[in-house]
């Protein structure tokens, strides 16, 4: 058969199913019902929430609806513009936009808008009635985060109670933590061997709370090294951490009555990049032969490199981090590890000031409350008291 006829036949066979194909969708899909448009709660005032009832032909009936298109206009009869598309089976949409005027998808706050939803089945579609007017408004309080505010309030009350108790001189028992008890012995060892102490504040940001905890511990350890006359090396990963470490150690030496023994050149900036910093600290450990290494703060993958190099150099190593993924490596490769929360308790243990011990007691009470809520919540979930469980979900 000549080429042209074969092509014609091929076209014919293709066309047939197509005509048959378009036959059964001539009937329009049922339009979505009860469209509502209202200001999205708990937002910055630049979005409107739209809800509707699914079209009768979505998931049932002709089951032909594949998607819904959200259309918006400035007035009921005005020109409708498409604002977004959602898959069938979805009945909500947040029409959101940018807050500053010069951005392309700027969404004005406070202006009235009208919405309608178009149910689409292939090329055919049908529109719902127009809903509106609705205007976007910014809220001043995020109701979804109330549970966080309550938790913060309770925690604050515990702190204030136990601080006042501590100020009244109430004796407070604190269970021993291996790593902290070993600090004096570790510094003593460095003094005997006449070798320096290495203090690494971690690779977190200067205002990471783990870094702040590390400054408070450094201040107490520096006081001891001032008394023991042992040099302390603090290679820093960030200029601001360097400045804070210099202030902390200088003040510790001042408090210990030995301001002249403070050497600012021992607290210096190495570099900001993770593995270049680790390469340098490895060099310090082996060349300065530090007797005791402290790794306290936020650590990432480099934790094991520091810990293994330190143990090659034969130093006593006390580590502590709140990075859950790195604790296993410190536990395996260093002599003592402060696990997660113990890093934050260390400064209270070392300082023993009543205010700090008071906050520690508050932490324990908060933990007790959480354990009660934990058991209560599990029981509530089992008995399907979903209202109780829902109390603790945060709607961001």
């Amino acid at each position: 058969m000549s080429h042209r006829i074969k092509a014609f036949l091929a076209l014919l066979t293709v066309a047939l199913p197509l005509t048959a194909f378009s036959q059964d969708t001539l009937t329009l899909p049922a339009p979505p019902q009860e469209v509502q448009a209202f200001d999205t709660p708990n937002d910055n005032g630049h979005s409107i929430a739209i809800r509707w009832k699914l079209s009768a032909d979505d998931g049932a009936g002709a089951n032909s609806v594949t998607m819904y298109e959200i259309l918006r206009a400035e007035s009921p009869e005005g020109e409708f513009v498409s604002r977004g598309v959602v898959a069938a089976g979805t009945s909500t949409y947040d029409d959101r936009g940018d807050k500053n005027t010069n951005r392309p998808n700027y969404f004005p706050s406070g202006t009235n808008f009208y919405y309608k939803i178009r149910a689409k089945a292939g090329e055919l579609s049908s529109d719902s009635e127009v809903a509106g007017p609705a205007s976007a408004k910014g809220q001043w309080y995020h109701t979804g985060k109330t549970v966080v505010l309550i938790f913060m309030g309770i925690f604050m009350i515990f702190v204030l109670i136990f601080i006042r108790q501590a100020q009244k001189g109430k004796e407070l028992y604190v269970r021993p933590i291996g790593g902290i008890a070993a600090v004096d012995e570790a510094i003593g060892r460095a003094t005997e061997m006449g070798r320096p102490i290495l203090y690494v504040m971690g690779l977190g940001a200067p205002n990471d709370i783990a870094s702040i905890a590390s400054y408070t511990i450094l201040s107490r350890i520096a006081k001891k090294t001032a008394e023991y006359q042992t040099p302390i090396l603090v290679p820093c990963n960030d200029p601001i951490m360097m400045s804070i470490a210099q202030e902390t150690v200088r003040t510790a030496y001042l408090d210990a009555g030995r301001p002249d023994a403070y050497k600012e050149e021992n607290i210096y900036f190495v570099t900001s990049m993770q593995f270049a910093y680790v390469a340098a600290v490895n060099g310090i450990m082996l060349r300065e032969k530090t007797a005791t290494n402290f790794y306290l703060g936020k650590f990432f993958a480099e934790s094991l490199i520091l810990a293994e190099t330190g143990s090659i150099a034969g130093s006593i190593q006390i580590s502590g981090t709140d990075e859950v993924a790195q604790i296993p490596f410190f536990v395996a490769a260093t002599d003592y590890t402060l696990i997660g929360e113990e890093l934050y308790a260390a400064s209270a243990y070392l300082g023993r000031e009543p205010l700090l011990l008071g906050t520690l007691k508050a932490q324990d009470w908060a933990k007790g409350l959480i354990m009660v809520l934990l058991i209560g919540g599990a029981l509530a979930a089992t008995l399907h008291w979903d209202f109780f469980v829902k109390l603790f979900s945060v709607k961001v």
Binding site: V174, A205, N207, S243, A345, A380
Partner: protein, 215 residues
């Protein structure tokens, strides 16, 4: 014959790779060379990154291009940090540091309370039952979290029943640490595989071709 430029740079990269690996044997001049080189290079790199992607978009553009004069305030605070260059005026740097720390801690209180405490607590509130694997697993998770939290109590001595529960808690923690360790071995080995692949499949053929061509 590979392009000379590529060959030199790739060989340099391979040489530096060997310098770092030599640290496994012991600290040596090659490692010291690579270490100091990367310290200098990385400090320079980060500084220029801070300049082009920190100073220009956050200070120069807002103030001089967009006329947002209120961006002068953080810039002045930044300059105040330079008072640390002199011993006499170093105390002034306490103010930018105070603001720096204040913003960090203020943001952390609600954020960490939500993500680490409330949401983890909410995630543990699952239906527990004694039959059916899902229910039983949920029960064991809730008990595990309970006992591990008991271990973290500071102001109560680990004695008697309380001590027993705490002991069970540290066992759970140790299982978690062992799991964390065991899971990570594969990831770390693949890092080494990539380095050896670079040497064996990128550098070596290129180097061999060059040596062959020259000889």
């Amino acid at each position: 014959m590979p392009p000379l430029g590529d060959l030199i740079w790739t060989t340099l990269a391979a040489f530096l790779t060997f310098c770092i690996f030599s640290f496994l044997y012991k600290d040596n001049p090659f490692y010291k060379f690579a270490e100091h080189l990367v310290v200098g290079v990385s400090a320079g790199y980060f500084t220029m990154l801070l300049y082009f992607e920190g100073f220009i978009p956050k200070v120069f553009v807002p103030i001089f291009k967009e006329g947002k004069l209120y961006y002068f305030i953080p810039a002045i605070l930044g300059v105040l940090m330079w008072t640390r260059f002199s011993k006499k005026w170093a105390w002034i740097s306490r103010y930018p540091i105070a603001i720096y720390i204040g913003i960090g801690t203020g943001v952390a209180i609600p954020l960490e309370m939500q993500t680490k405490v409330v949401q983890q607590l909410r995630a543990s509130m699952t239906a527990i039952s004694f039959n059916g694997s899902a229910g039983l697993n949920n029960l064991l998770v809730v008990l595990g979290v309970f006992c591990a939290l008991v271990y973290f109590f500071f102001s109560k001595e680990h004695k008697g029943l309380f001590g027993g529960v705490a002991k069970f808690g540290i066992w759970i923690l140790m299982i978690g640490f062992g799991t964390g360790f065991g899971l990570t071995v594969m990831g770390r080995v693949s890092l080494l595989i990539d380095r050896v692949k670079f040497l064996a499949e990128t550098w070596w053929p290129m180097f061999k071709a060059f040596v062959g061509a020259v000889l």
